[in-house]
């Protein structure tokens, strides 16, 4: 084993320090055209009268594409996971978020492309936008999406992710205190140093060569093939070094849009987003709204958790149902809570659709759970390390979706944290391990709630 523990060079290290790493924007192909997009200036509107004739006639403009040019306008990126298609590649009758792409221009240079975009005319009939997830359920809320204001296609056509475990009513009855909290982490931008970029080259043999910054090369290839309705062997996708992605370059659509322009113009086409576009129009980590009510005992046991999550998906579903699903499985965090009532909704708003970002779906609930554990300790006047160690996942404990833990690390991590903060734990807590619960660590409310790791 000569690699483990050894200092190995990065395979791309030398390229990076000599400026030789080739990112998509560094690729030079003769005859390249520049792309600019017409984007919705409003949050929500009916759209009509889209007219690109002036733009198409401008000298230096080689192609303009709108929804009419897309063979399959709506393609479900995760239809294989049961999430139906809901998002048009380019807006058709309406716009649902500020920045939504409506039309694209490929021209000789950036300046001409910008002028051509300005020459496209379209009419908007603005509608009241829905921007606050909490309002989505109001009777008088604006309707954002063809499915309503929240996703309704979980298995069994359920309109939420729902977890019920044990008896939350018993837990609330037996509790000494109910500790409540509302947690609302804001949207987070990935801010990769390299903005979204794609270069598509039409080849003489009818194939398209696609240079993309995607993090998910084969995934993106499938998306292009689906929208264009061409077989995969018509596409050659050249991936390469991604200038930072962090989850934000998985649901890219720039390749598809450039492919359409390349087909229509017969020229190589490159689209590099400006930093402003990256901030205003690219997908973000979702904002979340989480409400937690924990039934706790005076001595720090958490008997049950009642939780409501509203996940702000923005204007379209993209990967949000998947993110919420992961979130639901982890809604007790690193701790064991036997009685659960969880309801989570993927809510649609008139905001930029949200997407994956490191720890997709789970960072939100980790944040909420950890903050809530400290709140519990605070309310009960107990030590925050002790409350955590008591309720920590142990071998044989089960997750919200009944996975039996065989190797949980909560206890050792909390003890390491205490060590790192120079906090001396009381003897019985310092002696804790992840071993299966017994004695004081197996109170009445957990008896019969645990699983046998051997069975899995």
């Amino acid at each position: 084993m000569k690699a483990v523990g050894a200092r190995l060079p990065r395979y791309d290290g030398i390229e990076h320090v000599t400026g030789r790493t080739t990112y998509v924007d560094d690729v030079r192909v003769p005859g390249m055209l520049w792309v600019k997009a017409l984007r919705s200036p409003v949050h929500s509107a009916a759209m009509s009268g889209l007219d690109t004739t002036k733009a198409e006639a401008m000298p230096g403009v080689h192609a303009v594409v709108t929804h009419a040019d897309v063979p399959l306008l709506e393609y479900g990126h995760l239809s294989a996971l049961g999430i139906p298609a809901d998002e048009p590649l380019l807006a058709k009758d309406e716009v649902r978020y500020k920045g939504q792409p409506i039309a694209l221009v490929a021209a000789e240079d950036e300046e001409t492309a910008l002028a051509a975009v300005d020459a496209i005319t379209v009419d908007f009939e603005e509608r009241t936008p829905l921007l606050d997830v909490r309002r989505a359920f109001d009777d008088d809320a604006p309707t954002v999406h063809q499915w309503g204001n929240w996703y309704t296609h979980f298995e069994g056509e359920m309109d939420r992710r729902q977890i019920r475990k044990g008896s939350i009513d018993d837990a609330f009855e037996q509790a000494d205190v109910i500790v409540q909290g509302v947690y609302r982490p804001a949207a987070i931008e990935h801010v990769p140093l390299e903005t979204q970029v794609a270069l598509v080259v039409p080849e003489a043999n009818g194939r398209l060569t696609i240079y993309s910054c995607t993090q998910a090369l084969y995934f993106s290839m499938g998306v292009v093939a689906a929208h264009l309705q061409v077989p995969l062997n018509k596409l050659k996708v050249v991936g390469g070094t991604v200038g930072g992605g962090f989850g934000g370059k998985v649901d890219t659509a720039t390749e598809t849009m450039c492919a359409l322009l390349a087909q229509k113009s017969g020229r190589p086409v490159k689209w590099r987003w400006t930093r402003e576009e990256e901030f205003l129009c690219s997908s973000t980590r979702a904002p979340w709204h989480m409400e937690i009510a924990d039934a706790v005992t005076k001595d720090g046991w958490i008997l049950g958790r009642k939780m409501l999550t509203l996940h702000d998906s923005g204007a379209y579903a993209r990967f949000s149902p998947y993110g919420l699903t992961k979130h639901s499985f982890h809604h007790t965090g690193a701790y064991t809570i036997p009685n659960l009532s969880f309801d989570g909704f993927v809510v649609f708003t008139n905001r930029v659709p949200t997407t994956a970002m490191r720890g997709f779906g789970v960072t939100s609930v980790s944040f909420a759970t950890e903050t809530h554990m400290s709140r519990i300790a605070d309310v009960l006047g107990l030590d925050p390390y002790e409350v955590r160690l008591k309720n920590a996942n142990r071998v044989g404990d089960t997750s919200p979706n009944r996975i039996v833990y065989t190797d949980p690390s909560t206890v050792s991590v909390v003890k390491a944290l205490a060590g790192g903060m120079d906090v001396e734990l009381a003897t019985e807590y310092a002696a804790m391990t992840r071993d299966p619960r017994e004695g004081d660590l197996l109170p009445a409310h957990l008896v019969g709630q645990l699983g046998n790791p051997e069975d899995h």
């Binding site: 300046e111 910008l114 402003e276």
Partner: protein, 265 residues
């Protein structure tokens, strides 16, 4: 985009003035740190661009009791005034980062219009507190006026230089937004002249920087001065902070500056 622009490259101050004319249709490019992004992103399309890089307006004269700063002096060079005007040097070294300070000019910083997302013009504060004179060219020809007046009609003028008397003491206090470079949320500069007069100015307000006359009138009592300062300014909400926050922190900065000036006696 830039092909259609007539670019003027004067090699002396006199030539710059002559080419500027009455300023109509002229876009000034000094360091370029503010103007170039506007051009790159298609927000302005200059027809006549006056590039000042070779016009010799980057002078700094601090020999005698009067300091004269050429408008095209890089912001970083104000560090050379650390002994004479500590507040101005300190303010300058808080602007952006090493590279931007060497490229951006004093004139660009002073003349900058309000930023779209965050305030600009940090240097306006110390120069106001110094009661600097601004010499500039405009439709009416050459004018020398207090910088406070210049700020009121700075758009469309070519700033040539700024002059002020070296103070007996100066002090600077700011709230910086922690970031890669620094953004100034709010700043106050105080100056005590050789004659004992105390002047105060603030920047990162809703509009350009201003003097704080009510605070100056109460300068002997820092608490009263801090409280009075709020009436002298118009505060705004922006990407860095809210007016609410600035209203509460302005008195603190005023008190800090006055107490530093006191220590410098």
């Amino acid at each position: 985009m830039t092909q259609a622009t007539e670019v003027l490259l004067p090699t002396s101050a006199a030539e710059a003035v002559a080419l500027f004319g009455d300023g109509s249709g002229v876009t000034i490019v000094a360091g370029g740190t503010i103007v170039l992004p506007e051009i790159t992103h298609g927000r302005i399309a200059p027809t006549r661009a006056l590039m000042l890089s070779g016009a010799g307006l980057d002078t700094l004269d601090a020999e005698g009791s009067t300091v004269t700063i050429g408008a095209a002096l890089p912001v970083a060079r104000l560090a050379e005034l650390a002994q004479d005007v500590e507040a101005l040097a300190q303010c300058a070294l808080g602007v952006a980062d090493y590279e931007i300070r060497r490229q951006g000019t004093v004139g660009g910083n002073v003349c900058a219009g309000a930023g779209r997302d965050a305030p600009r013009g940090d240097l306006q504060g110390p120069l106001l507190a110094l009661d600097a004179s601004a010499r500039s060219i405009g439709p009416d020809g050459e004018t020398t006026e207090p910088v406070a007046d210049f700020l009121g009609h700075r758009a469309g003028r070519l700033l040539l230089d700024l002059s002020f008397e070296k103070p007996a003491a100066s002090a600077f206090a700011a709230i910086e937004y922690p970031h890669t470079h620094e953004y100034t949320v709010l700043a106050v500069t105080g100056v005590r002249t050789a004659g004992g007069e105390v002047r105060l100015a603030a920047t990162s307000l809703a509009d350009h920087g201003t003097r704080l006359p009510s605070a100056e009138a109460a300068a002997g009592d820092p608490d009263a001065a801090g409280a009075a300062a709020v009436a002298d300014v118009k505060l705004g909400d922006d990407a860095l902070a809210s007016a609410w926050y600035r209203e509460r922190t302005l008195p603190v900065l005023v008190r800090r500056v006055l107490s530093k000036l006191e220590e410098a006696r």
